[in-house]
Structure formats: structure tokens, C-alpha cells
């Protein structure tokens, strides 16, 4: 098989307090370095991770969730995939939430749409029992 396998090592970070923001950034930075992402790309990924973590702290029930980070490989490129999961109330209107300026928290509403611009792939799977946002950043 020529196509690479997903990197087996998956690192998880529990998200429960603001201090975990730093752990999230560290985990994403470590994975970015491993995958050989450049400084700009890793900064974008880490920043997106920061935004998504903040959303969990703000909107998920009890402000709790999990990040799992893994290295991915396809088409001869290395990348990093971060999966942010929470079992909060979910996002009723994902399209709206992905639009600049939409916020139910009286904020700028930049986190989700901004994160989408910062990574190569962003998908949201959400239901009333929780939300999973997956981001992938590819190296070049």
C-alpha cells in the first residue's frame, strides 16, 4: 500500500479550565513540529485550537470537553488533525455559527468562521447531546 497510514499515536487533552488552553496549544505545537508544519501553518493551527477550546469552555455543559490530536498523512503530505469533542447542548444552526459575526454569547462571533479560514479542513458534527469539531492542517 502506498498511501500512508494514520499515525498511530493519538494524544488527548482534557479541557476543563482555562489553564488547559496552554496544554491544548502545546499538544498542537508538538504535533505540528512532528508533522513538519512550517511556523505560519502551525501558528494558524494552534490559534484555531485556542478558539475551539474557548468555545468548549464557554458553551459546553460544565465547560468540559476533550481534544485528541493525531498526525495524518495523505498524498505524500503530513498533517495534523485535532478533534474537539464536548457533550454540551450542541449548535442548533451550524451554518449560522460558521458565519462571521454570529454569536449567542454576545461576542464577536469569530471563533468558528475564523478557525475555518485558518485550517485546511474544518467539519462540525453536532446534536443536542454534543459537538465535535474536527480540524486538519496540512504541511506543504
Amino acid at each position: 500500500m502506498t498511501a500512508g497510514l494514520a499515525h498511530p499515536a493519538v494524544r488527548t487533552v482534557e479541557i476543563a479550565t482555562e489553564a488547559d488552553l496552554i496544554r491544548v496549544r502545546q499538544a498542537l505545537r508538538a504535533a505540528s513540529e512532528q508533522a513538519g508544519l512550517g511556523l505560519v501553518d502551525s501558528t494558524k493551527l494552534i490559534t484555531a485550537g485556542s478558539e475551539l477550546t474557548r468555545n468548549i469552555l464557554t458553551y459546553a455543559t460544565g465547560g468540559r470537553g476533550t481534544l485528541s490530536v493525531e498526525q495524518v498523512r495523505a498524498l505524500g503530505r503530513n498533517g495534523v488533525r485535532g478533534t474537539f469533542t464536548d457533550s454540551g447542548p450542541g449548535i442548533p444552526d451550524v451554518d449560522a455559527a460558521l458565519t462571521d459575526g454570529f454569536s449567542t454569547g454576545g461576542s464577536l462571533g469569530l471563533g468558528l468562521p475564523g478557525s475555518r479560514r485558518l485550517v485546511d479542513e474544518l467539519t462540525v458534527a453536532t446534536s443536542p447531546s454534543g459537538t465535535t469539531v474536527t480540524v486538519v492542517k496540512w504541511g506543504r
Binding site: 500500500m1 498511501a3 494514520a6 495523505a74 498524498l75 505524500g76 479542513e121 474536527t134 506543504r140
Partner: protein, 397 residues
């Protein structure tokens, strides 16, 4: 006015004419009529079966799970019950039968019995065997899917490509072979294909991916064709692993990009003044790389002014204007001023009509004028800088 007896006799008359085995049953499943084709099919003469339960054709397993009740109740429920399974002849040999059971009702709608039609499909199985052989010899992975999206058949290549045994795949929806992130969209497209089926490649110009059992992904190319079978319309997907082809295309693309980049260098035109002559169209990827290269140079050379010359850009549409705007904003955040040069009248019109706010961006018609402005800015700043240095020195004393 026709009584129930007449109806049954009409039915029996029809039964003698057809080549399918037909049995008429009473409400309990006891045989009351048996045509010649049924004898030919099963080896039982009419007088051997009339008065006995039709379940004498069943295998032991089917008898044990009370298939008779299933068939009769099923047909009564929906007016028709169809099944396919193995039946046993008088001599003990087995055959594969397609079975249809329908209830018979009297004039007042009460149940008077059933009619059961049996067809030997063992020979059709032979066609299927040939089809399977064909499937197995195909060079591509082949997956056949029913309208609900369930996999009904796969070949050996599919097993190898995706790392599953066929028993694990048959009965699953086709989406097990599609990466999680693309599944929702896939279900949607799949319904669309069944609605308007024709032979076609899937997702023309799309980057398609499959996912193996171990979770790894592979780029694929898929060709779809509808397959009308007696179990309804199915779709046959021929799947090809294009990892190598995509990698090659990717390499070519990167080489092309590198050549493009070389043709658009960031030039230091003066101390702390950079120029970026943009030539050709700007797509997102190229714009991102140009911006990065420019910002790196700003940091490296501590450049204070950047001239973005767009005289070589054929058309400035919303997208190009937005890329330019982002570059200018990022340069501003770093502390460098930007000057746009080479704006043609039609470009100026486009930018204004598009309602794009280029903010505090200064613009000059020609590169020469832009350079003059840049030097002016640098001069002003350096005099302010020496004054500031004097302040700090004074304060430090």
C-alpha cells in the same frame, strides 16, 4: 354471480397453462390444488400432496422456524409475500426457489386460502455465478449497492483495497468505505444518483477519498453504473486507487508553484523599502505564499514600506482585491506601510464598485511615483527616529 368454487376452478385452469409451479392452499396451508408444473418441479404428484401441508417442501431448518406461518401471515398482512430460498424435492434433492404467496378472499372479503407460485431459479444462479466470475476478474475494486445504500456484493480487489473481509461489508451501507468527514454529503449524492442513474464517473473533478478498515484514507476514482436486477435497481461502483497518480499531480503542481514564486520575487529597492511586483493571476494558495514571503522579508530586512505593484495582474476581482487587502493588513500589523502601484483606471473602478475598503492604503499610478512616496515616508520616519532616540538618551541621563 360467482361463488368461491368457481373462482378456484378458474384459478386451476389458469394454473395448468403456466410453467411456474402453482399450489392453492386452504387457510391453514394445506394443499388443495397442484398444477403439472409443480409436479415437474418437485417430483410430487398432485394426489401425493393434496391434503398435506405445503411445508413438506421445506428444509428442516425452515420447518423449525415455522416458515409457513411467516409466509401465510406475511401475505395476509401486505397482500403479497415474496421470498427466495432452498426447497426440497420428493427425492430429497434441493433447488433454489423464488416464491410468491398471495391470499385468496371470498366475496365478503373473508380469507378462503392462498395461492403459492414457485419458480426454480437455480439456473439464474448459474448466471450469477458467471457474473461473479466476471466481477472477480475485474482489475478494479467493485462494490454493488442497493437503493438503500447497502452493499450487496464486493469482489476480491475491494477486500484487498479496503482491508475488509466480504462478510464484513455485505449488508453495511456503502458509507463505511467513505471517510467520516465526507459521509453526510455522500448519502445525499448517493440518493441523487439512484434518482437519475446513468453511467458516469463520480464527482467529476472532485478529490474523492475512501477509508480502509484501519482508518487510513486513500484517494480514489470511482465510476458508477446502474445495474437493473430482478431485485430492483442496484448500482455498481468500480473503484480505483489513484494514490500514485495524485501524488504525481501534486508534485507537478508544486513544481509549477515554485516556478511561479520564482517569477514573483520580493525585491529590496531601497534601504527598508520592498517591492512586490505581482504578475499573473492570484489564487488563494499563491496569494498566501506571496504574503508569507513578503512578511518574512519585512521582518528580516526591517522594511518600513512595501510597494505592491499590480500592473501585471490581468484582472482584479473581489478575490484578488481581498487577497491584497489581507496582505496589506498583515504588513500593517507588523508595522510596515503599504503603497499600491500600477492601478489602472478599470481596476480602480472595479475596486470601488466592489465596495472593497482598502483603508488607509495609499496608491500611486506608476512604480516610479510609488517609490518616490516610499522614500519620502522613510525619510520622515528616520528623522522622527533620531529625535526619539535623542529623547530616550535625554531621559536616560
Amino acid at each position: 354471480m360467482s361463488d368461491d368454487g368457481t373462482r378456484l376452478r378458474v384459478l386451476e385452469a389458469v394454473a395448468t397453462l403456466v410453467s411456474d409451479g402453482i399450489a392453492t392452499l386452504d387457510p391453514q396451508g394445506v394443499v388443495v390444488g397442484w398444477n403439472a408444473a409443480a409436479t415437474e418441479l418437485t417430483g410430487y404428484e398432485a394426489d401425493e400432496v393434496i391434503g398435506r401441508s405445503v411445508s413438506l417442501l421445506y428444509t428442516e431448518e425452515d420447518t423449525a422456524r415455522d416458515l409457513l406461518a411467516t409466509e401465510l401471515d406475511g401475505s395476509r398482512g401486505s397482500g403479497r409475500f415474496e421470498t427466495e430460498g432452498v426447497r426440497v424435492r420428493k427425492d430429497g434433492s434441493r433447488f433454489r426457489a423464488a416464491v410468491v404467496v398471495a391470499p385468496l378472499t371470498g366475496a365478503d372479503g373473508e380469507l378462503t386460502g392462498f395461492v403459492k407460485v414457485l419458480r426454480d431459479v437455480t439456473s439464474r444462479r448459474a448466471d450469477e455465478a458467471m457474473f461473479n466470475a466476471l466481477l472477480e476478474s475485474a482489475p478494479d475494486a467493485m462494490v454493488i449497492v442497493d437503493p438503500d445504500g447497502r452493499i450487496t456484493l464486493v469482489n476480491r480487489q475491494a477486500e484487498i483495497m479496503f482491508g475488509y473481509h466480504r462478510e464484513e461489508l455485505v449488508g453495511q451501507t456503502i458509507e463505511v468505505l467513505v471517510p467520516q468527514r465526507l459521509r453526510g454529503r455522500h448519502v445525499h449524492h448517493r440518493d441523487g444518483f439512484f434518482a437519475a442513474a446513468q453511467v458516469r464517473p463520480m464527482g467529476v473533478d472532485l478529490d474523492l477519498f475512501g477509508v480502509r478498515k484501519d482508518g487510513s484514507e486513500l484517494p480514489v476514482e470511482i465510476s458508477l453504473s446502474p445495474l437493473d436486477t430482478d431485485r430492483g435497481r442496484q448500482v455498481c461502483a468500480a473503484i480505483r486507487d489513484v494514490t500514485e497518480r495524485r501524488e504525481q499531480a501534486e508534485r507537478l503542481r508544486r513544481q509549477r508553484d515554485e516556478i511561479m514564486e520564482l517569477s514573483t520575487p520580493v525585491i529590496q529597492v531601497w534601504d527598508r523599502v520592498l517591492a512586490l511586483p505581482i504578475i499573473g493571476t492570484l489564487d488563494s494558495g499563491r496569494a498566501a505564499r506571496l504574503t508569507e514571503a513578503l512578511l518574512e522579508k519585512i521582518g528580516e530586512l526591517q522594511a518600513e514600506v512595501v510597494i505592491l505593484d499590480i500592473s501585471g495582474v490581468p484582472t482584479v476581482d473581489t478575490l484578488v482585491a481581498q487577497h491584497l487587502l489581507k496582505t496589506v493588513q498583515a504588513a500593517t500589523l507588523m508595522g510596515a506601510s503599504s503603497i499600491l502601484s500600477g492601478v489602472r483606471p478599470e481596476t480602480a473602478q472595479a475596486i470601488v464598485h466592489l465596495g472593497i475598503d482598502l483603508g488607509r492604503l495609499r496608491s500611486r499610478n506608476t512604480l516610479r511615483e510609488a517609490l518616490q512616496l516610499a522614500l519620502q515616508i522613510v525619510r520622515d520616519r528616520s528623522s522622527a527616529m533620531s529625535e526619539a532616540a535623542a529623547d530616550v538618551a535625554g531621559a536616560a541621563w
